[in-house]
Chain length 276, copies 2
C-alpha cells in the first residue's frame, strides 16, 4: 500500500530554499509518495489565512496531516501558518534562537540594511553576469577575457554554456567559455590555444566520458563524424591530454548536475559569490 502525503513549501519570499531543502529531506523517504505544493510570497496575514485554509483542506481531503517546510521570517505570519493541523518543519524559527544566543546580539528581523546588496543591485549583477556569459559564449569573441572570473574550456557538448549561465545567475560570476575544436587540439597539439594563453590562470577544463558524449551529440546530429564514438574518443583524449600536460584544472562531468559542476568550479577556482 503506497502512502501519499501532501507537502507544502511555504515562504514569505521565493520558497526556493524551502523547496530544495525539503526535497533533499523527502528523497530520503523512498516509500512515500508526495504531492507537492509551493506557496511563495506569503507575506501578509491575508495570504497566510488563505494558505492556512489550503493546508487544513488538504488534511480533510486526504485524512493525513500535511507536511510543511517553512522559511517564513515574520513571526506573526509564521505563527498563523504553524497553527495549522500540519506537521511543520520550520527552518527559520528552529535556528534563529540558538544563533541569537551564540552571537549575543538580537536579530534585526526583516533584513535589508545598508551593507547588504539590494534586490535592484542583485538584479544588475545577475543581468550583467548573464549578458557576459551570453556575449562570451562558445568563443564568439575572445576579447573580453580580461573581465572574466573564469574561462571554461572543453570540446563541443560538455556543458560549458549552461554552467556559465548558472555561474552568472546563481553566483554573479563572469564566466566565458571557449570550445576546444579539433583544429585547436590537433594542429596546435599540446599547446594552449594562443588566444587563451594570457588567461591560463583563469582556465578550467570540462571533460566527459566518450560514450556519454556520443549519445548527447547524436541526439543533436544523428549521423556523421561529429557524433561518432571514434571522434568523441579522440577529441576527449586530446583535450584531457592538454589539461594534464598544461596543468589546467579539470572536471569529468559525466554524472554531475549543473549545480555540482558550478559549485566545483567555484570551489576549485577559489571564486567568491557576488550574490546570495
Amino acid at each position: 500500500m503506497s502512502i501519499k502525503r501532501t507537502v507544502f513549501f511555504i515562504s514569505d519570499r521565493t520558497a526556493i530554499t524551502a523547496e530544495t531543502f525539503g526535497h533533499s529531506l523527502l528523497i530520503q523517504f523512498d516509500d512515500v509518495e508526495f504531492q507537492k505544493v509551493t506557496l511563495p510570497f506569503i507575506d501578509t496575514m491575508w495570504k497566510a489565512q488563505d494558505a492556512l485554509e489550503q493546508i487544513n483542506d488538504a488534511k480533510e481531503q486526504t485524512g493525513q496531516r500535511p507536511i510543511i517546510f517553512s522559511t517564513i521570517v515574520n513571526s506573526q505570519i509564521r505563527n498563523l501558518i504553524l497553527s495549522s493541523e500540519a506537521a511543520a518543519v520550520d527552518l527559520f524559527e528552529t535556528f534563529i534562537g540558538p544563533l541569537e544566543e551564540e552571537l549575543r546580539v538580537h536579530p534585526t528581523l526583516g533584513g535589508g540594511s545598508s551593507h547588504h546588496t539590494t534586490a535592484g543591485e542583485e538584479l544588475d549583477i545577475r543581468i550583467n553576469a548573464v549578458n557576459y556569459a551570453l556575449t562570451n559564449d562558445d568563443g564568439i569573441t575572445t576579447k573580453n577575457y580580461d573581465k572574466a572570473d573564469v574561462v571554461l574550456v572543453g570540446v563541443s557538448r560538455t556543458g560549458k554554456t549552461p554552467t556559465c549561465l548558472y555561474l552568472g545567475l546563481q553566483y554573479g560570476i563572469f564566466a566565458a567559455n571557449y570550445p576546444l575544436t579539433e583544429e585547436d587540439l590537433l594542429i596546435e597539439y599540446r599547446k594552449i590555444p594562443g588566444v587563451l594563453q594570457p588567461y591560463r590562470d583563469k582556465l578550467y577544463g570540462l571533460t566527459i566520458n566518450p560514450e556519454r558524449l556520443q549519445k548527447i551529440r547524436a541526439a543533436r546530429r544523428p549521423s556523421g563524424r561529429y557524433s561518432s564514438l571514434e571522434q568523441c574518443q579522440q577529441e576527449i583524449s586530446l583535450a584531457e591530454f592538454l589539461y594534464v600536460s598544461k596543468n589546467i584544472p579539470y572536471l569529468n562531468i559525466t554524472t554531475m548536475s549543473i549545480e555540482e559542476i558550478a559549485a566545483t568550479v567555484m570551489h576549485k577556482s577559489k571564486l567568491q559569490r557576488r550574490i546570495f
Copy 2:
C-alpha cells in the same frame, strides 16, 4: 566595536542550500561581520578531517567559535564535523528524526532510487530548457511556442532573458520571450501581436517603473530616444494597457530579484518544477 565571526557552509553536495539558507539567517544579524567559507563535496572521511582542521584553526586564529551551516547526509561524516569546536546549525539531523516519526517509515538515506531523476537526466532537462530559452530568446523565432511552458512578454530591458534562463536552469521550465516593440504597441494598438495570439494562455507580462527602466537603458546606450524617460514612460504605459485590457497576467519587477520574478511566474502560471 564590530564583532567578526567565521562562518562555514558545509555539505556533501554543492552547499548551495547551506549557503542560501545560512545567508537568510545571517542577514538578520546586522551588527555582526561574517567571514564566509564554503566547503562543498565533503563526502569522504578524509575531506571531513581536513574540514575539521580548517574549522578548528579558525577558532584558534579568531578566538571565537566559528559557526557552521551543514547539510551533510552521511551520519559518520556529519558527526566528525559536528565534533569541531564550532557552533553548528545542522539542517539535516535536526529534521530527519521528526520527519521519520511523522511518516512512520525509515529513511533510506543516500537517495537515488528509481523514481527520482538521476543527475544525468537532470542535466539533460536543464540543458534542453536552457537551449530552448536561448533559441527562443527575444523573439528571434516564434515558431516553437507550442513547446513553451510560458512566453514572457515585455518592452526591452525588463528582465525577460535572465528570467527565462533562470526558469530553465532552476526549474527545468521551457520559457520563451517576446519583446513588445513600439510597432507592436502602437501600430497594433490594443491588440495582442498576431504571432502571440494562438498562445495567449501562455503569456506572462513583465513591467517596470519608467525611471528605473530609463537608468537601465541609459547604462547600455547613454543617449538617444531609446533611453529617454519619455520613451520609457510611453512604452511602459502602452504595455501595461495591453496587459490589463487583454487580461494578461503581469508583474512589476522594479524591486525584485530574478529568483523572485521566476518564482512568481511559476506560482501564478501554475507551472510545475521538472527538477529539484
